[in-house]
Structures are given as structure tokens and as C-alpha cells.
Symmetry: C2
Subunit: 444 residues, 2 copies
């Protein structure tokens, strides 16, 4: 994530950045030397089965702003006091692993004692703290979902430019075609940063000047305004009133055509002179696609229309949109016995989680998941980089925002829409686990 | 909002806490001595026309954490540098009212120069900054929507307790019947604070220990666990597996009944001994109501079931859920002419905004909106308190969380589900504005 707008929610001890029941896991888990959990999106955007690509985004923010902070003994005392007052209905006092927190403050320089690399690993005395950060890290569902939605919106824009604009997808207008109007529809300032930057991976410019002020009494106001703005070498953007978004855009284009006139481009589509339309009401992926087709049908080039998406972009998504969940996948018990863990609900066996420690390697362009213990993925090839290891990782630096943007631009197009991304060795492990289930299945 | 978990997104200048087009309003607005805007929920939860009550909540957070901060000249320089790089598609440089920011830093002790009391008022040179904070303050849609949803969920719980529990609505179990499972489904930590505390207005306890770990292989594990917990004087909470939530609850109740046995209460409903069920999957307002009825139908008292709501409580809401919007409502032009402004979209005249400066007074239990200039509402009666006036307000203190909770408890029940809350004088003004529209209607 871009460093320029670094932000965090201050004053909150890391101990409260979890579901309270997570704090009790240390009482529930078996004695173990090591525990590993991982997170996974089980579906493409809105459960799409044709295009299942996702844009993974946002881990940096949560690691830098929350996980990679040093704790003090005072913080532990504060946390302990908090948990003493946080009474679950079934307990008279709420358990909190105070001794483990004190231990890592004293022995690990104050850093939370887990390793994060896609999987979260905790070892030795700290093993039961494995899932403590699960709640917080699960929140990457949000920036990842918005980044994916926004990139898919860009696919729609690219398609209409390819069909109707002089320079096709190479048009310099492309990147400003979807403006983020979502700030006021966010639940919080922090959300607007996470979602807003996720959108900026695929489009330049968040939010835009609006001509809403002039939207009513449309054609009477137009000429005067246009004279003023165009006289300065400007460009007038019309924002239609609310109503059916497709009709609103077509009406505005036709009104603008009458006032400003059009030029026909090399593909035979009309481009209005010095004026365009921005539609900011009722925009989501579906309505955007519908409008692009209607605009072309009416003979207008993609150049004439910009979209603004508000709640549809930043708020009307949830953890189910791409089915994100975090699950325990590996335990080494106190006696050294290692087991891989796979959740497979009785009521829906198809909702299994992936067993064992995982590694990811690109195979024929597809990021493919392997068992880490299969020896098939070298440390260099493993796309799951260690981003935190009981503290900041020496020598590791996050890619800057432009690098992430470029990577998205190059990788999105070459990644197949849909692919089997489980390696044969992992598939074999899943089959074996399914056969063994009943004795080893643990619901993490 | 409770002070204990005070939090803010640090490092962000107030100048970026707005839609960027708001920063350009000072160029678009007419010269004025005074401008006023206001925010309004146009609908009850999920557009309910039977019960339109809302729980207003969250303004304190945004005022304390963002608005009521002192700016420095360095902040203005940073903001100016930011805006110089923030280019809207139609402009080559982005306008930012730097001189006005410098002015209030020098002349108003660094405090943003508006008054907030439900309406936002800006005067004199600062008049064009009236809507600058609109984006940020619009975010109260979120805590208010969650607070309303949660209170309505309590209505459902109260109804089932009244029908099937010994003590009815007076049962001490009531307040813990809906647990907040929504943290991981939030988009950000800040959201979890805003939404999580909104829930705590109507229920005690956010999140709970979960018995999910033991959910599969249910009846075999039960006796051993129950012996252990009940032996300590505890209470076992079963969390069913995923699947249809109503069926899952009924199956778990029947399994628990076999293991633990039941006692029949004074209303003839069964209460399981030392064991209950928590359903945390698939819970929203609708499924909660359905489950309460099915549980009673099966002969079980409300005492046996607790609910956990996750995304349904904290994330599956948006600004449209209760149709929140902010609109300009009053301008005094440079020449002293004062006009009331009412938005009334051409495409949907029923979506008018309220014209003129407003005051709110309780009439027959209903908070009723008056024109502030009608003389019908004294300063003491006005429910719109001044919470910020070009700086913190001398002598004003926010009610603490418990006071807000008690007020909600007492006022919710006596507030009619639905009422005409526009005073006759305001209705007359709306009629007059509608007649005059065309010349004075401005889209804010």
C-alpha cells in the first residue's frame, strides 16, 4: 500500500484486535509445539465461476499498522484490565493469556511472536497464539475484494474502448473512466483509505469535480457554462440527475450533442466536442456494462462517458462476496506428532479447507498451491513471502504502490480466468484427509 | 460514544477527509454571508414503512476524533501540496481554498470554522466551507444504521422472551441474547469500533466464547464436556454447524435435551438444564425472527437460544439502508438576501429535501422538525444541540455511554413506530417552495 497516507487506529492495544473468543483459544487448544493457520478466498467476485481471478491487496497495511508494533508491559497490564471486565455470558471472568504476552514482551523485544507468510505460524510456548491475529488479518477480505471489483470494472471499460474509441484500450482516457464516489458511503475513514487505494490500483483519480450543481434545468444552463469553461480550453462534464442510469446517460449525451456537436471517429462512433457525461448514481459492475453497450448502440464512443461508483465500489461488498475464511491447517503436538488439519463441515463436505502448511508457485501462469512439505516449491519460487517473523523481517521491503500497480497490470491479463490451482500432491493430500476424517478433522 | 476505546485515523489532514469536489465548492457557490446544510435519514431500516424509528448514534466520534482538531500552517501546506498533485480529469490543477484555511488557522485558533448542531452552518468569509465536512459527517449513517438494526433485533428478542420465558422481558438473559460476531467481516478496525459500540447500546457483550471447536461429532463429545463444565457450576453453549439456521438450532436443542434433560417453566416451555445453543451463521433480522418462532413452536423457551450476528450486523448495511443524505438548505447572499433551499429532483419530486434552517422539538413524544425561524422552538427545547461551534463548545459535555444507553431504553418504547414528524409550519414552507421551484431550487 502507498506509504503517503499511512494511518492507523491509535490507542487500541493489539489484544483487543481479535474476537474475544480467540483470547480463550489457549485454553481450548491441545498442547502443541507448533500451530499453523491460513486464509483463503473460496470464490471469485460475486461467486463468478467463469472469471475467478482475484487481486490480492492490503496485507501490508495490517502488518505495518497493527501487527508490527512493539508491546510494552504497560500494554499488557491495560489489556489484562480490559479482559477482566469483558465477561462472556458463560464465564464469570474472561480468560486472557497474560503470561504469554509478558513473555514475548520480555523475550521477543515486544513483538508479537508469530510468522506471517500467507499462513500464520506460531511455535513452542506461543503455539496457542496462532489464531490470535486471525480476526485482524481476515480483514484483508476488504481491500482484496474492492481491488478485484475495480479491476473487473476496468475490464468493462477496456472492452468498450476497444470497440468504439479511436485508440482502443491504449486511449489515455481509460484510467480515469471510473471515479471513486464512495467516501461518504464508507463506514469509517480507515475503510475509505483501504478501499480507496484498492481502487487506485486500476484507475487514476479518486473522486472528481462534479457538475451535479448544474444538473437540473440542463439545456438552458449548458451553453453559458460551456462557453465559460471551453473558452479556457477546458472540458465540461455533465452529471445527469437521478433516475434510470442508462436512460440518464443517453439523455445527457443527446442534449450535449445538440449544444456542442460531435465529431465521428475512425471507428464510426460520435465524440462530443469539449463535453462529456459522468454518471454517478446507480453504478455497479452490472449497470456499467449495460450502459457501455447502450452508449455504443446509440452511436457514441466510449470517450464520452465517465462513471462514478460510490457504495457499489466501497461498501456494497462483504466477506461473503468472495467467501474469505481463515482456518487452522497444521499442528505439531507436544509429543512431536505432526498432523495436517482439514475442516470439512458435515452439512457441506464440499466446503473443505486446505490441509497442511502451504506454498504457492506459478505453474503455466497459474499461482498453484502445493503442500510446503512436498519439496516441490523452493523458497525463491514460493509466492508466499515471509512479511513478518516475530518482528519485522531483515532485508524484506514492501513493493511500492506503483510497482504493485504495474504488477497487477501485467499479471491480470496473463492469468487464466479459471484454472485448477491445486497441485496434484495437494489434491492427493485432500483425498487422504477425507478418507481419514472423523478422527482428525478439527474445526478451526 | 464510550471514551474508553477512543481512536482515530492519525496522520490524515482534515483537508483530505472530504470528497475532492467538495474542495472546489468555494469556486462554485455564489458569494454568500452564510450557508447552512443538514443531514437526514429518509427512511426507516430497510425502507420499513411500519416502524420508521431510528437510533441516532455516532456524531460524537466524528466531532471528537476529526472535526475538533486544531490545524497548523504546516497542515495547510501539506494539504496544499496534496491538492496540487490531485488532478481531476477536467482540471490541470486542483483547486483548494488555501487562503481560507490559513485564515482560520490565524484567526480562529486553528479550529475549522463551522457550527454543527444537526445542521452545519458556515458564515462570512467561511460560508463556502459549509459543505466541506459533509462527506465526513455523512458517515454517521453507519453507526446510526447499526444501532437501529441492533435495537430492532432486541425487539425480536423481547417478543420471544415475553411469550416463552418465565420472567418475560425482565429476564436478565435478555441483554446477552445477540452477540456481535462481526469483527472479521468489517472492512477496518475503525469500523468495528463504530459498529461494535452501536450494538452495545442495546446488548451487553460483544462477541462471546464459542463452542464451535466442539460442534462436529456433537452428541458423542457432549457428555464429557458437559460433565467438566457443569461440574464447575458452568453452562455449556453449543454452536451448531453451518446449514439452514432454523434447522440447525432445532437439531442442537433436541440433542441437548436428550443429554441434559429439561425443566418446564411457568409458561409451559422447556428450559434445558445447564446448556444452551448459540447460532452464529446465517443470522440477520429476518432469520432471527423466524428462528424464535420455530423454537417456541417446538416447545422450547427463549432462554435456550443465543444469536451471533456477523456481517449481517456490521457490514451488510449501506448508506441506502436508511437513505441518508446531506443537502444545502439555507443561504444568505452577499447582499443580505436570505433564501431557503429545497432540492426536488425533476425525476422524482417526492425526494425533496427540507428547506431552511431547522429545529427539532418533541411533540406528543415525536421528535418533530420545525423551521428554526418560526419561533416555535426555544433554545432549551431544541433537540439539535450545538456540539461544535468554530471550536469546542464551552460548557457542553457529551453524555457518557451509559446515559446514551438508558436514553435509548426509555425513548425507544415510547416513540411511535411511525408519525408525521414535520410541523405544520415546515409543511407550509415546503408547499411554498414547491410552488416557487424553478428559480430557487439548487442541487446541493
Amino acid at each position: 500500500m502507498a506509504g503517503a497516507m499511512g494511518a492507523c487506529v491509535g490507542g487500541l492495544p493489539i489484544s483487543v484486535l481479535t474476537d474475544s473468543y480467540k483470547a480463550t483459544h489457549y485454553l481450548q487448544y491441545p498442547k502443541a509445539q507448533k500451530m499453523v493457520c491460513y486464509g483463503e478466498f473460496r470464490a471469485g467476485y460475486n461467486k463468478d465461476k467463469v472469471d475467478t481471478r482475484i487481486v490480492s491487496y492490503g496485507l501490508r497495511y495490517f502488518i505495518e499498522q497493527y501487527v508490527s508494533k512493539r508491546w510494552t508491559l504497560e500494554d499488557v497490564e491495560r489489556a489484562d484490565a480490559f479482559y477482566r471486565t469483558h465477561m462472556a455470558p458463560a464465564y464469570s471472568a474472561f480468560p486472557f493469556p497474560k503470561a504469554l504476552f509478558e513473555k514475548f514482551v520480555r523475550e521477543n523485544d515486544g513483538y508479537f511472536p508469530v510468522k506471517v507468510e500467507g499462513c500464520i505460524t506460531a511455535e513452542d510456548d506461543y503455539a496457542p497464539m496462532c489464531t490470535f491475529l486471525e480476526t485482524l488479518l481476515t480483514m484483508i477480505w476488504y481491500p482484496t475484494t474492492v481491488a478485484t471489483l475495480s479491476r473487473r470494472a476496468r475490464d468493462i471499460v477496456e472492452a468498450t474502448f476497444a470497440r468504439s474509441s479511436d485508440q482502443g484500450k491504449a486511449s489515455p482516457l481509460m484510467s480515469s473512466r471510473l471515479q471513486d464516489f464512495g467516501f461518504r458511503g464508507c463506514t469509517s475513514v480507515e475503510q475509505s483509505i483501504l478501499g480507496g487505494t484498492a481502487h487506485l490500483l486500476s484507475f487514476t483519480g479518486s473522486d472528481t469535480m462534479s457538475a451535479a450543481y448544474f444538473a437540473q434545468a440542463l439545456s438552458k444552463v449548458l451553453p453559458a457554462i460551456s462557453g465559460k469553461k471551453v473558452g479556457k480550453g477546458g472540458y465540461l462534464v455533465l452529471r445527469p440527475d437521478s433516475g434510470d442510469p442508462t436512460e440518464a446517460v443517453l439523455m445527457a449525451l443527446e442534449a450535449a450533442e445538440k449544444v456542442f456537436g460531435c465529431t465521428t471517429n475512425t471507428r464510426g462512433f460520435k465524440v462530443i466536442n469539449g463535453c462529456g457525461v459522468i454518471q454517478g448514481d446507480g453504478i455497479n459492475i452490472q449497470s456499467m456494462e449495460k450502459i457501455t453497450l447502450a452508449v455504443e448502440q446509440a452511436g457514441f464512443a466510449a470517450d464520452n462517458v465517465t462513471y462514478g461508483m460510490g457504495g457499489g465500489l466501497l461498501q456494497k461488498v462483504n466477506r461473503d462476496t468472495m467467501s474469505f475464511a481463515t482456518k487452522l491447517n497444521h499442528v505439531v503436538y507436544a509429543d512431536g506428532t505432526a498432523i495436517d488439519i482439514m475442516k470439512q463441515p458435515l452439512t457441506d463436505p464440499s466446503k473443505y479447507s486446505l490441509p497442511g502448511v502451504l506454498a504457492v508457485k506459478r505453474v503455466n501462469g497459474v499461482p498453484t498451491v502445493f503442500p510446503a512439505d512436498s519439496g516441490e516449491v523452493s523458497a525463491e519460487d514460493n509466492l508466499l513471502k515471509v512479511v513478518y517473523d516475530r518482528g519485522p523481517v531483515a532485508g524484506f521491503t514492501w513493493d511500492d504502490f506503483d510497482t504493485v500497480k504495474s504488477r497487477l497490470r501485467s499479471e491480470w491479463e496473463v492469468t487464466p480466468l479459471r484454472a485448477d490451482n491445486l497441485s496434484p500432491s495437494l489434491q492427493a493430500k485432500i483425498v487422504e484427509q477425507t478418507r481419514l476424517r472423523g478422527s482428525k478433522v478439527i474445526d478451526g
